[in-house]
Amino acid sequence: MVYPENYNKPTRLLLLVSAIWFGTFGIALAEKVTLSADHWGVAEGKACIDCHKKSSPGLFRQWEESAHAEAGVNCLDCHQAVAADDDAVEHEGAVIATIVSPRDCGRCHTAESKEMHNSVHSQAVALIGNRIPALAESVSEKALLQAGCTQCHGSVVEVRGDGTLSPESWPNTGIGRINPDGSRGSCSACHGRHQFSKAQARAPGACTRCHSGADSPDDEVYAGSKHGLLFTANRHRMNLDSDRWVTGRDYSAAPTCVTCHMGAAPGLNASHDVGMREAWSLNGPVSEQQYLVIFEDGERRELPVAQPVPRRKSDLAKLDGSTATVKAAATPKQRRQAMSRVCVECHSKGFTSGFMRQFDNAMDLYNESFGKPALSIMRALYEKGLLTATAFDEPLEFTYWKLWHDEGTRFRHGAAMAGPSQTGWQGLHRIAQLYYGSFLPQLREVAGEETAKSLIDKYTSDREARNDTGYPRAPIPLVGYGAGKP
C-alpha cells in the first residue's frame, strides 16, 4: 500500500496528472444553471399556481420558498410533457407528467443530471439485481420489495394502459429508479420536493434515509463519529444555505456525507457522481480495492484491482450487461488521492495517511480472518453438495449472510468513516462472536468433524494462532478460563 507522504517522484507526477484529470474531466463542474431565464416561466404554468395554492397549500408553500419560485420556475416548467410520452396525462387542460425525471431536471441542471446518470447511484437497480432474488423473493414478499427495497434502490416505474402509474411501482423515489422516459435515477431521492433546499440536501439526513441499517449503517457510523458529533454541535455554523459550499472556505465546522463523497474542496470540484472517491468496495463478502472505469459514453463501473487494468479503447461489459469502450480508468490510489484532498482541508497529511492506514489494516483484518475463509468454506460446501443451492434454507446460510452482510458491513463502514463503536463492539466483536460461536460450529454440523477440520486448515490463513478447531489458541480469563481466581 502506498500512502501520500510516501509517494516517489513518478508517483507524485502521476498523482498530479490524475488530480488535474479528476478536476477537469472526471469530476465535472457542479455548476449553477447558466441558461438564460427565458428557458423557463411558461405562461400556462401560472394557472397551475393559482389552483394549487388552494388545492395543495403545503406543496405550494414548499415551492414558494424555493429557489425555483424566486427564479420564476413554475409547475409546468418541470412537469410539462408531450402527449406521446408514456406517462403523459391531461390535467386541467395541460399535458403533464407526474414524474419529473433526471432528464427533465437536466433541461436546466445539465451537469448534475449527467453526473447523476453516470454515477453508481443511478445504477442502484442493476447493482442489487443479483441480490434481490435471494433476499427479497426467497425470504420475504413483493410487499417488502415495494415498501422497502425499491424506496431506496428504485425500480422500473410501470405506466399502465389507462395512463396511471402502477401503485406497485409508484410512489418511489429510489435513487436508481428507471423512469418512464428511460432515464435512470430520481433527483428527489435526496432533494426533497418541492422546496429543493440546498441546506436539506447537504445535511446528512439526505443520505441516511437510505444509508442506515444493516446494508449500509452509515447513519449509525456517522452519528458515532467525531465528524457527526461536530455536525450536531455546530449545525448552525455550517453555512448550509450558501450558494458556494467549498470545504475550508465556506464552512469548516464539520464535514457531512456530501463534504467527503461529492463536495467541493480547493482543487477538487463538487460532483453528483457520488462514489468516485472510494478506493475500497465495502459491501461484498470480501472487500476489494477497485478501479473506476470510465467508458467513452461517460458511464462508469468499478472493477476489482485483482483484475488487469482495463486498457484505453478496450471493450468491457457495463453493469447492465452491454459492452462499451473504455475511455479511462482511475486506480484506487487516484481515487483515494481525491478523497484525501478533502481531508487535508482540516487534517494534516500525516493525520490523513495515518487514518487511511488504519482503515486499510481493518480491511485486511476482515478479509484475511473472516471474509475470505468464510467465503472459501461456503464455496467448498456447495461444491461438495453439503449445502443445497437454495438460498436461506439452511442455518449456515443465515449465519454466513449475517457475518459478511450485517456485521461485516458495519465493521467495514465503521472503519472507513471513523466510527469506533460501530467498528468495534457493533462490528468486529459481533463478527468474531458469529464466526467462532455460530459459523464454525454449524460448519462442523453440516460437514462433520473431519471435513470441517480440513476446510478450516485449508482456508484459515493464520493457522499458528489457532487450535485444531479453528478457535484462537490463547486462553482468555474473562471468557471463563481461570475465572474468579485472583
Binding site: 389552483c51 388552494k54 391531461e90 399502465r160
Partner: protein, 206 residues
C-alpha cells in the same frame, strides 16, 4: 252571435279533439318513455351496459353521502322532453350497434371499445357545457369539505365546464383523448383477460 267559419265542421272538431288528446298522450308517453329508458334497470337490461355499471356502483354518484343518487339518465340524457327524446333517437345507433355490431356483451371486447365511447361522451358533455351535471350541481353552491374548494370553484373554475376537470369519476378510467395510447390500452386488456399478445388488436378489427 259569433259565427263559426264554415271550415270548422263537426268532423274537424272531432279530429282536433282526437288530435289534441293523441298529442297529449304522445307527449306524456315521451316523458314517461324518456324517464323509464333513463333508469338503471332499463339501461342495464343489456349485458354490455351492466359491464359499465359495475364501476358506477362503486362511485360517489351511486353512493353519495347526501343520499342523492344519480341514475344513468340523470347524467347521460338531457333535460326536457324534446332534448331527451332527441338524445334517445341519437342513442338508437348504440342499440343498432349492440344488435348488429361487435359483441359488446363480451367483457374484453367491451373494454377494448370503451375508450372511444368515453371520448364521445366527454365530447357530448363539453358541447352541452356539462348541462346534465348542472341539474344537481350549482357552481355558486359548491363549498366542499376542504377550505379551498369554494375558492377554486369561484376563481379558477370560472369560464370552464365541469367536464374539463371532472372526468373518470364514475366509469372505468380512460385517459384523455390527447394522451390515450391504443397500443398500451390493448396490452393492458390482454393482460387482464389472459389473452395472447396481439389478440386485442384482432378483436378490435372484427
Amino acid at each position: 252571435m259569433i259565427r263559426i267559419p264554415e271550415i270548422i265542421t263537426r268532423h274537424v272538431l272531432i279530429a282536433l279533439r282526437l288530435g289534441g288528446v293523441t298529442g297529449m298522450a304522445f307527449t306524456l308517453f315521451l316523458i314517461e318513455f324518456d324517464r323509464l329508458t333513463g333508469t338503471e334497470a332499463f339501461c342495464t337490461g343489456c349485458h354490455s351496459m351492466e359491464l359499465v355499471a359495475v364501476p358506477y356502483r362503486e362511485s360517489a354518484h351511486y353512493n353519495p353521502v347526501s343520499g342523492v343518487r344519480a341514475s344513468c339518465g340523470d347524467c347521460h340524457v338531457s333535460e326536457g322532453v324534446f332534448a331527451a327524446t332527441w338524445d334517445h333517437i341519437r342513442g338508437g345507433k348504440d342499440l343498432f350497434a349492440q344488435l348488429f355490431g361487435p359483441d359488446y356483451d363480451d367483457p374484453a371486447i367491451n373494454a377494448l371499445h370503451l375508450p372511444e365511447a368515453a371520448f364521445a361522451v366527454r365530447q357530448w358533455f363539453r358541447r352541452s357545457d356539462s348541462a346534465t351535471c348542472k341539474r344537481c350541481h350549482t357552481l355558486d353552491a359548491i363549498n366542499g369539505t376542504r377550505a379551498d374548494t369554494l375558492m377554486i370553484h369561484q376563481q379558477d373554475a370560472r369560464g370552464g365546464s365541469c367536464i374539463d376537470c371532472h372526468y373518470n369519476l364514475v366509469h372505468r378510467r380512460v385517459p384523455d383523448r390527447k394522451t390515450f395510447k391504443r397500443d398500451k390500452w390493448n396490452r393492458m386488456i390482454e393482460r387482464e383477460f389472459d389473452m395472447a399478445p396481439g389478440e386485442a388488436d384482432k378483436l378490435l378489427r372484427q
